[in-house]
Amino acid sequence: MFDLDLWREIFQSINMNRTRSLLSGFTVAFAILLFTILFGIANGLKNTFAEAFGDDAKNSIFIRSGRTTKAHKGLQAGRRIQFKNEDLDYIKEDFSDKVEFITARIYSNVQASFRNEQSSYPLRGVHPDHQFLEKTIIEEGRYINQNDLQNKTKVVVIGKQIEEDLFKKTTALGKYLNLSGIPYKIVGIFSDDGGDYEERIIYMPVTTSQQVYGNNDYIDQINLSYNPEMNYDQALAFSSTLTKKLKNRFSVANSDQRAVRVRNMAEGTKAVSQMTTGLTVIILVIGFGTLIAGIVGISNIMIFIVKERTKEIGIRKALGASPRSIVSIILIESIIITAIAGYIGLVIGVGVLELVGPSLKDYFIKDPGVNNSLVIGATITLIVAGAIAGYLPAKKASRIKPIVALRND
C-alpha cells in the first residue's frame, strides 16, 4: 500500500534535518565509494596479471638446444646440439597421448619490401599448430596449413602492423611480399594480444624456411602444449620425462643444464595463479573491512538519530501515533538515505575509476572496474545493516512511555 502521507512525513523529516541526513548519507556514500575504488584498483591489478601471462597457451613447453657443458659418454664438452625434423617427429610419436599441439620454430630476420616500402622483420618458420600455441588471431585469410608444409609453398602470414607499415595505399591479402629478393604470397593477416612486437612477425611454413634458408632440416626450437586435462604435477612429471629422454637421445649428461633446455610454462602459471589468489584474498579482506566500517558507521548514526528523536517520538505518541508508525517512519527514512547515498557513492566511485583508470596503466593497473552487482550487493548489505541497526533502537524508542520521552530534554 502506498501511503503518500507517510512519504511526505519522511521527506519532510529528511529535508528539515539536513545535517543529520547528510551525516548519515556521507558515511554510507563514503563506504561505498571506498569499496568501489579499492575493488576497482584490485581488479585492475588482476587484469594486468591476466594480460601479462595470458597471451600464450598456459600449458606450453618450450624446448631449446645449446652447447654441452659436460663431457659425457666419451663426447667432449662444448658440442653443439642441433634439433632436426626427426626430433620433433620423435616427440610427437613417443608422447602422442600427452601432446596437444606441437610446432617447430626457425628464427631469422628478413628484409621485407612491397613496392617502395621496406623494413626488417623477424621471420619464423612454423607448423600449422603454431597458431594455437601462440594464440594467433587470424583477421583475414588463413594460417599456414598442411598443404603448405608438404608442397613447401612460398606463402607467408603477416602481422597487421606489417600491413600498416608496408601497405599504405592498398590491402596486403593476396599480394606478393618480397623477402630478400624472393616473392611470397600473403595468405593471411593476424593480430595478437601480445602487443605490437608480436604483430610485426612473419610466419612461413617450416619446410619452406628450411629449404630457402640453409637447405637443411634444422629446427631452432620446439614448442608444444600438453593435454590440458593433465594437472600441475602430471605436467611437471611429463616435462621431466621429456627432458630425460631428449638428453638421452643426444647423449647429454643429465646434469647438463645448457645442452637441452625444457621450459614448462606450468611453473610460471602456478606462481601467477597463486599471486592472483593472494590478490583476491586481499581484495576480499579490504572489501569486507570497508563494508564493516560502513556498517559500524551507519549503526552508530542510527542509534544517535533515534536518541535525538526520542522527544519527537514522545510527542507523536502523545498525539496518538502507534508504535508501528514510529518504527516505520524511522526505518524508511534510514533506508531512503542509505539507498540514495549508496547510489551516489557508487556513481562517484565508478566515475573516478573511469576518469583516472586510463592513466593508471603505467602503475600496473589495467581497466580498473567493478562488477555492478557486487557494489549493488554491498549497498544492499549496508541498507540492511542500517535497517537492523535502526530497527532495534527504534523499536525500543517506540516502546518507551511517552512521558519518559517527553522528559528527555
Binding site: L4, D5, R8, E9, Q12, S13, M16, N17, K311, E312, G314, I315, R316, K317, A318, L319, G320, A321, S322, P323, R324, S325, S398, R399, K401, P402, I403, L406, D409
Partner: protein
C-alpha cells in the same frame, strides 16, 4: 466524565521504590475546570500523566467517559489518546521542523484524516487561537505565547473530550500567562473539560475547582470562585 478510585503508583529507585500516589480518589464531571496543585514531589504530574495515559497506574481504577482504562496495549492507548485527550505542555512540545499548521494537523494525521481535510481543520483551529497569519512559521520563529497557542490549537484539533495541561503557563511571563489562561477559560466556557497541573496560586484560582495534593494523597478538594483572566489582559 472521569472516575478515579484508589489509584496507586510507585517508581523504582535503585533497590527500593518511591510511593508517589497513595490511593487517589477523584471524580470530574463534564464542563469542569480543575487545577491540581501541590509542591514538587507531591505526585501532581504523575496523576496527570496517568490520566493522560502517558503513564500507567500500579493499582486502582480509572474510568474515562465510561471506558475502563486498564492494561491497554500500546496501540489501543495510542488510539484512546488521540480520540479522547488533548495535551498542553509546559515546554509546548511542538515538533521543531514542522510549521505551525503541520503541528496542529499532526493528531489529525494519526486519525487517518485526508490531507486536504486536516489542513482545513488545522487552519480553522489556528484561526481560533488567532495565529492564522503564522501558519507557515516554524516554532523557533514564534514567541513563547504564540507557541503555546499553537500547542493549544493542536490539543483542540482532534476535538478531545478532555484537555490536559501540565503547567501551561510555566514557561511564560505573567502577561502572556494571563492571555493563555483567558483563552483556556474561554474554551471551558464553551464546554470543554479541563484538567490543569500548576503550582501557581493565581493560575489555580482561575479554575473552578482546586485539588491539593501532598505526599501522594489529596489534602483538599474545593470549588472556588473563578477569577477571570481577561481583566489582567
Amino acid at each position: 466524565m472521569l472516575e478515579i478510585r484508589q489509584l496507586h503508583k510507585s517508581y523504582p529507585i535503585g533497590d527500593s521504590s518511591l510511593h508517589v500516589l497513595k490511593g487517589i480518589d477523584l471524580s470530574v464531571t463534564e464542563g469542569e475546570m480543575v487545577a491540581i496543585m501541590g509542591s514538587s514531589g507531591s505526585g501532581k504530574s504523575t496523576l496527570l500523566n496517568i490520566i493522560g495515559m502517558l503513564d500507567e497506574a500500579d493499582e486502582g481504577e480509572y474510568i474515562l467517559d465510561g471506558l475502563p482504562i486498564k492494561d491497554l496495549t500500546e496501540k489501543k492507548a495510542a488510539v484512546y489518546r488521540n480520540k479522547f485527550l488533548g495535551f498542553i505542555f509546559q515546554s509546548f512540545n511542538l515538533i521543531n521542523y514542522k510549521n505551525a499548521l503541520e503541528n496542529v494537523a499532526l493528531p489529525l494525521y494519526y486519525q487517518g484524516m485526508k490531507r486536504s481535510e486536516r489542513q482545513e481543520l488545522a487552519m480553522f483551529h489556528l484561526e481560533k487561537v488567532g495565529l492564522a497569519d503564522w501558519a507557515k512559521h516554524l516554532p523557533k520563529e514564534l514567541s513563547g505565547g504564540q507557541n503555546q497557542r499553537v500547542a493549544i490549537a493542536r490539543a483542540l484539533a482532534a476535538n478531545p473530550k478532555l484537555l490536559l495541561a501540565d503547567e501551561p503557563t510555566g514557561a511564560l511571563d505573567t502577561k502572556t500567562s494571563h492571555e493563555i489562561m483567558a483563552f483556556i477559560q474561554q474554551l471551558n466556557d464553551e464546554g470543554k473539560t479541563i484538567l490543569m497541573v500548576t503550582h501557581e496560586e493565581d493560575i489555580a484560582n482561575m479554575c473552578k475547582r482546586i485539588v491539593r495534593l501532598r505526599d501522594g494523597v489529596i489534602m483538599e478538594d474545593v470549588k472556588v470562585t473563578q477569577v477571570r483572566a481577561e481583566q489582567y489582559v
